[in-house]
Each structure stands twice: as C-alpha cells, then as structure tokens.
Subunit: 303 residues, 2 copies
C-alpha cells in the first residue's frame, strides 16, 4: 500500500497520523489548529506544518475527514447522500491535489423534508464497524453535536444530530443556571449525573427539567459541585430518551473521547443498556478502509 | 380604601401604578431599574424615585410583587407553599415598612421531590382569574421563564416553569445557530413560526429539532430573516408540546406582553387551541385584590 497519512481536521483541533494498511497509527500528532484558526488560503501551509515531512515519502496519500471539507474549510466537499456505503464515500472524495490529498465528503440525510448533516463522523462510524467486525450497529458519537448513526448491512442507513454538548456549554456558561454551578467542570459526580438522567427521563421535557438545576440548588438539594454533573446527566438523559426510536435491536457502540465515554457510559449503565466503546482509532480505521478501496480499484471513480 | 400603589419589580424593569379599588391604573410609570441595576441597600431610594410622591398621600399602601422579594432583591420574602389561595398570599406578606410597604411572597410547588418557584406570576395569575370572573383556568405566562399555573376553585393548585425565553436568547446569541440568523429579531414571520411549531411537535425532541434551524439554512430552505421566527416557533412549540399533560379541560388564558401574546397566540391558533388573552393589567388586579383583603380584615395575619 502507498504510505497513508490520516488527517482528522475539526473545528477546534487538527490530528494527523501515519497509518499502516490495517489503520493502526505508527505515529500521531495533535495541533491546536482547528479550521477556525486558519485564514482562507492558509490550509495548505498548516497541512505542511502538520505532516509535510511524512508527505515526502514516495507515493504518499493523505485522506482528510472533518470540517476541513466545510464551506469554512480548505475546500468545500459536497455532501454525499445517506444511505451510503464506505466505497461510495471513497468514490466521492474531493481531491485537493489529484491523486495525493483528498477530503472525505460529509453526509446529508433527509427525513421528513428536513436535512441533517455530518462531517467526520461518517468516517468514524464506518471505522467503528470495521474495528468491531460488524455489519449492523447503532453508533453513538457524543460531542458538541452528538451523532447517532444506524448502520445496516455495512451501510449507514440514517443518522440524527443532537446538540447536547453545545446546550450543556450554553447553559453552564451563559444561563441563569450558571449562578449556582461551580466554574470548574472537571470532577464528575456520578451520583449527581444519575440523578440528572433520572430527572430527564421522568420529566420528558428539557425546557422544564433544566430549571430544576436552579431550584434544587435554591433549596440546598444540590451543591454547586454536584450541579455540573446533574446538568450533564440531564442533557445526556434527554438525548438518551430518544434512544428507543433510534435503536431497534442493534448493538449500541459509543465512540468518542474518554471524558464523554465516561459520562455516557455511566448514564447507559444506569439505564441498564449494554454497549461497547471505541476511541478515536475508529477515524484512522475508516480512513485506512477508504485507502484500501482506492488501492484495490474497487472504487471506479477514484483518481 | 387607602391609596394603593402597585409595584411590579422584576429582574430587568420596574413598573409602578396608582390603583383604584378595582385595580385599574390611574397612572403608570416604567423605569429601567430592574433589581439587577440596584445596589444592595439602594432599593428604598429607587422606590422613592419611582413613586415617593404618591406615597405622600395619607395612609398610602404599596404592594410589591416580583423579584424584589428574592435573595438578590430588597428583602427576601420566604416562598409561600402552593397550593395556595390569594388570601393566603395576602396573609404572608413580607412587610418592609410595617403597615405601609409590603412584598408579596413568591410560591414554591413541590412535585416528585423537585421544587419549582415563581415570583410575581402568582399575583398575575390571581389577578387574571379576577379579571375573567373565573374560578378555574390554565394560565400561561410566557417570558424568559414561562409559567403554567393550574387554577382550581380560585386557588393555584400547581405550576411549572419552562425556560423557553432564555433558551431562545441563548441559541440566538451564543450558539452555532446564530451564524445563519439575522441579528434583528423584531419582524415576525408567522409562516416560519408555524413551521417551527410543527417541527417541534413532529420531532418531540429539542436537542435534535434545534439543529434543523442550521441545516435548513445550509440547504437554502430557510432564510436568515425567517430563521428567527422558525426558532421562536420551535421553542414555543416545544413548550406547548407539554400542554396536554397540563391542561385538563380548563380554559387556557395567555397573560403577558404584546410581543409574546402575538407569538404564542399564533402558535395556539395554528394548533387549534382556544384561548383568551390578558396583559399586565392582571398584575394590578392581583395586587388590588390583596389590598382589599387587608382592608376588610378577612386576612387575619395582616399587619
């Protein structure tokens, strides 16, 4: 296989890796150069800083996923349509330098006339299927905008976005709830998180349930320290409340950063839901799988 | 009756009125001196500025409702317990100057172990009942924190808070949705509002539905101008989605400022729900009713 460089270029961070044919990272680097920090026209330069040395290898191929393909990114890579299989994504790569640097298209899913979109998570989801040797799964990728992807027969059948992480940040930083919360958000109080999950489930209504974070504190039923975890549990519970309609009988797979895996894991265990977990290696696996498609020619539109 | 001055002292504004025995305002003033603008210890001075001249009348009585009774207000007036009747509120007034200036207590309602609170809306709700000559109603008071109060046999039986206005402001100003919305929020597009209501009802999940404000704009299915009204409809629809559990067979009464009455009214008409509307006169009516209780001595604990 040609030397492969995987690039996960998001809104706030840039991660690059030298990958072997199996998608394992021989070397990784992380830079605080998310697309928001890059001037228009400056993407090639940042890319060279991140992995220009690796690109010197003869025949090197870089595959990029994430917000680098958005309108505010390096080059806008048009969304591919969901349902989609991994080879269809590989066939619709957006080539920045023909045969050498390509951006994976995001996906658009249309249900009930309303579009939903993802960029980067499609690669993560297909990589997760490969890593687990599965064809079917419900893949949950928590984050600022959590994505739930239903995978069937190796294809992504549908997906939905939940603004859970962003709502948490908004409420913690800018709402009246902030007045009774601690500034430091790093310590997790699992008891308080579970209380939040239970309250979201029982209430079924975020606009109402969220106010409890304030009233419980007013009546000394919630400490400022526990408040953050309660609010986190409330929002995760509100997201998980949609689960039955999403799930069917598929295995649930959580893919994400350790901090979020810990929180979502605690919530799912509390609800008695079985799940498997994966980290960011799923992204590298997804990019490597696309590179293999390009290599074997099983992907006719590839350059 | 003694000369009565009604004071509605909220977080961001201060309204005062000279009231007749029927609760009609002979004269009204509004000052941008919500409690957030008042230094601790400075409340009497602001009060004097607002209505000191009216207080010169022999035997003048001032009744104050709203956040002036909160911990950050003039004097903390302990919450009265809901269910409650108007005479119970009048009997638990917090006297700032005995026999002369009093603050109406807020209410606390405990359902399922979780407290909910209001300050000011209790006065508005009882005033609304008086104005309509009703004993039973479901009273909706839209705002930063909307309150739904169920009134039965002239008493407030229970209530619930929805953070609708605050969520709208957070999403419009601080979230990713702001990028595809117009700054100016004054023009209402009723079609877009109705689309938002429908989407909230169909989706049943705010964390998911809210993201549509962005994706519809990305695919040119929502203009920046219509976006604000769509988001407003989405949040109002999300609040109204809880209605069946709140309503029973009672009349629905909307009480609030014209801008919110217009929006909630459009949403309710779209859903085929009948309702009546009242403005801020409900507050004056509630305060006058409490003054009558004090006057007639039908309220034993009164000073």
């Amino acid at each position: 296989m040609r030397p492969l460089i995987g690039v996960d270029w998001g809104t706030t961070s840039l991660r690059v890796a030298r990958l072997d044919i199996h998608g394992h990272a021989a070397e990784e680097r992380e830079l605080p150069r998310g697309i928001l920090t890059v001037e228009p026209g400056g993407f090639l330069q940042v890319f060279e800083q991140a992995c220009g040395d690796w690109m010197q290898q003869p025949g090197a191929l870089a595959l990029i996923c994430g917000m680098a393909g958005s309108r505010q990114g390096w080059v806008e890579a048009p969304y591919a349509a969901c349902p989609a299989a991994l080879d269809e994504l590989a066939g619709q790569l957006c080539w920045v330098e023909p045969g050498c640097i390509a951006i994976v298209p995001g996906l658009v899913c249309r249900q009930g006339g309303v579009p939903d979109v993802m960029r980067g998570e499609e690669t993560q989801a297909f990589g997760a299927l490969k890593l687990l040797g599965r064809q079917d799964a419900l893949i949950v990728m928590p984050g600022t905008h959590s994505k739930w992807a239903r995978m069937r027969s190796g294809r992504m059948e549908s997906f939905a976005t939940f603004m859970t992480g962003e709502f948490y940040a908004l409420l913690r930083q800018h709402s009246i709830l902030a007045r009774t919360l601690e500034d430091d958000d790093h310590a997790l109080d699992e008891d308080a998180l579970r209380r939040g999950v239970d309250h979201a489930m029982a209430c079924g209504h975020l606009l109402h349930a969220a106010f409890s974070t304030r009233t419980l504190a007013l009546f000394d039923q919630l400490t400022p320290r526990a408040g953050n975890s309660f609010l986190s549990g409330l929002l995760i519970g509100e997201e998980l409340r949609a689960r039955p309609r999403q799930a069917g009988g598929d295995a649930l797979v959580l893919v994400g950063a350790p901090r979020l895996l810990q929180r979502y894991g605690a919530a799912l265990r509390h609800l008695g839901v079985e799940f498997e977990t994966l980290g960011h290696e799923a992204t590298w696996q997804g990019l490597a799988a696309m590179a293999r498609f390009l290599e074997t020619g099983r992907c006719p539109q590839a350059a």
